[in-house]
């Protein structure tokens, strides 16, 4: 708050308990609901034709079908998530396959290139530096709160990168391609921040 920040007369707001306050980035508020934000209609889940691939540029490193993907080592995490529209949700429980596991499965110790482009059913894309996907920081999530992920929340599978604003956790994910160059994705091209760190309030271009 600067000296010239206007005071909103009559506004007192709702203070949070200190324990939670430390976990909530600036400009965020808590919700116990789980809001849905998507740019278009929700795709029908189709596990029969579902495929997920990992690529090094245009070269496909591996492609998994639903059964093969389910046979990979599963990881459970409980994390806080933060949406750019200003809600945060604490202690969300997810199960899925960590990106580390996927890299191991194709025989890599580290991502083959510094940037990643994530593509999804329906054409949505988002970009993340490769280092933000590894060392336990990200997974392809298939379950939320003990249940298969619902279509509105990205089911059957979504990327989960909980330390970045939640539009980076792309729904209905189908591929991750590692690239030498950074390529802004769907919202990133539409004025949202290229990286999206909630703790630095990187919401929009120039933040």
């Amino acid at each position: 708050m600067n000296d010239d920040t206007p005071i909103s007369r009559g506004f007192s707001g709702r203070r949070r308990a200190d324990a939670d306050a430390k976990r909530i980035p600036p400009g965020q508020h808590l919700t116990s609901d789980f809001p849905v934000l998507s740019a278009g209609p929700t795709p029908e889940p189709d596990l029969v034709n579902w495929q997920f691939s990992l690529g090094d540029g245009d070269t496909k490193l591996c492609e998994w079908d639903w059964a093969q993907f389910g046979a990979l080592t599963q990881t459970d995490i409980t994390v806080d998530i933060h949406c750019v529209t200003s809600w945060s949700k604490l202690d969300t429980r997810w199960r899925g396959v960590s990106i580390d596991t996927l890299l191991e499965a194709v025989g890599l110790n580290e991502p083959p290139a510094p940037f990643a482009v994530i593509t999804c059913e329906g054409g949505y894309t988002t970009n993340v530096p490769s280092e933000d996907l590894i060392d336990g920081k990200a997974m392809i999530a298939t379950h939320f709160d003990g249940q298969p992920l619902s279509p509105e929340h990205g089911g059957p599978a979504r990327l989960l990168v909980p330390h970045l604003y939640f539009w980076k956790s792309a729904k209905w994910v189908r591929a991750i391609e590692f690239r030498e160059e950074d390529e802004p994705g769907f919202w990133e091209q539409l004025g949202y921040h290229n990286y999206g760190d909630p703790w630095r309030e990187q919401r929009y271009d120039g933040d």
Binding site: P6, S8, G10, S12, R15, H29, S86, E152, E188, D207
Partner: protein
């Protein structure tokens, strides 16, 4: 899904001080704030803003709201629905008055937008306060005297919950190719000539355009509402890429 604008570096979105010029009661639970801002002209119908309130001890709260006004309107307007147990919306609907100030920045979002240049036909589907960004589009359309065929299907709980009802009637009376269909989900008042019940396949088929007409479709409302409308339109065969959605509220699951 299509991207409607290309990447270009943009200046940072600055926080500005918005001063409330007037507060207009729309319904028992909804108010419109007319705002004065130092520099806020280049926005598109359908865009939203972030607002930030600051208490006298420095405590702040931030939220996003759709812009209700058209770019051609004299003042920027936000229309806010009171959310029970809300932190910010009850301040806007119950407390705020002319002369009060808060911070605002934007416009934000270049996806859920329609301008007369994009032409049509235009099919707008709104649930409750989901009408707000759609109204900005209709106001913009009227300001340009556009004859683009446009239809609005608008679901409200009760007759008295219909936001902008008189203005919608006035817009329809211009006979410029706009049709508005109301449906009420929680009452059927005497003499009501609109639809009753939740938006369903039959209502969408009757009020919308055909698949061949390739309407540009914008749906805004609570999550379940948007899901139902979007899924029905896909089932008719409308192109996924022509359907844009904006949702609010939880899934209820």
């Amino acid at each position: 899904m299509m991207v409607t604008d290309t990447a270009a570096p943009r200046p940072a979105l600055r926080w500005q001080t918005a001063e409330v010029l007037d507060v207009i009661g729309e319904t028992a639970r909804v108010k419109t704030l007319l705002l004065k801002l130092p520099d806020f002209t280049k926005y598109l119908p359908g865009q939203h803003v972030d607002v930030r309130l600051t208490a006298d001890d420095g405590y702040q709260a931030q939220r996003s709201y759709s812009i209700a006004s058209a770019p051609e309107d004299k003042h920027v307007a936000l229309t806010v629905e009171r959310i029970e147990d809300g932190e910010v919306s009850p301040y806007f609907t119950d407390e705020v008055r002319a002369g009060d100030k808060f911070e605002m920045r934007g416009p934000i979002g270049r996806y859920f937008v329609w301008t007369v240049k994009l032409e049509g036909p235009l099919f707008l589907i709104g649930g409750g306060s989901g009408i707000v960004p759609l109204m900005a589009m209709l106001r913009h359309r009227a300001a340009h005297a556009s004859n683009t065929p446009a239809r609005l299907l608008y679901s409200s709980r009760t007759q008295s919950d219909i936001i902008y009802r008189d203005e919608l009637d006035r817009l329809v009376s211009r006979n410029d190719g706009l049709a508005v269909t109301h449906t009420l989900t929680r009452e059927k008042p005497a003499g009501w000539i609109g639809h009753s019940g939740r938006i369903d396949v039959a209502m969408l088929a009757e009020t919308g355009f055909t698949v061949d007409q390739r309407p540009k479709i914008f749906i805004c409302g609570p999550t379940g509402f948007v899901e139902a409308a979007a899924n029905a339109l896909l089932a008719f065969g409308h192109d996924r890429a022509l359907i844009k959605t904006e949702r609010f509220g939880p899934t209820g699951r």
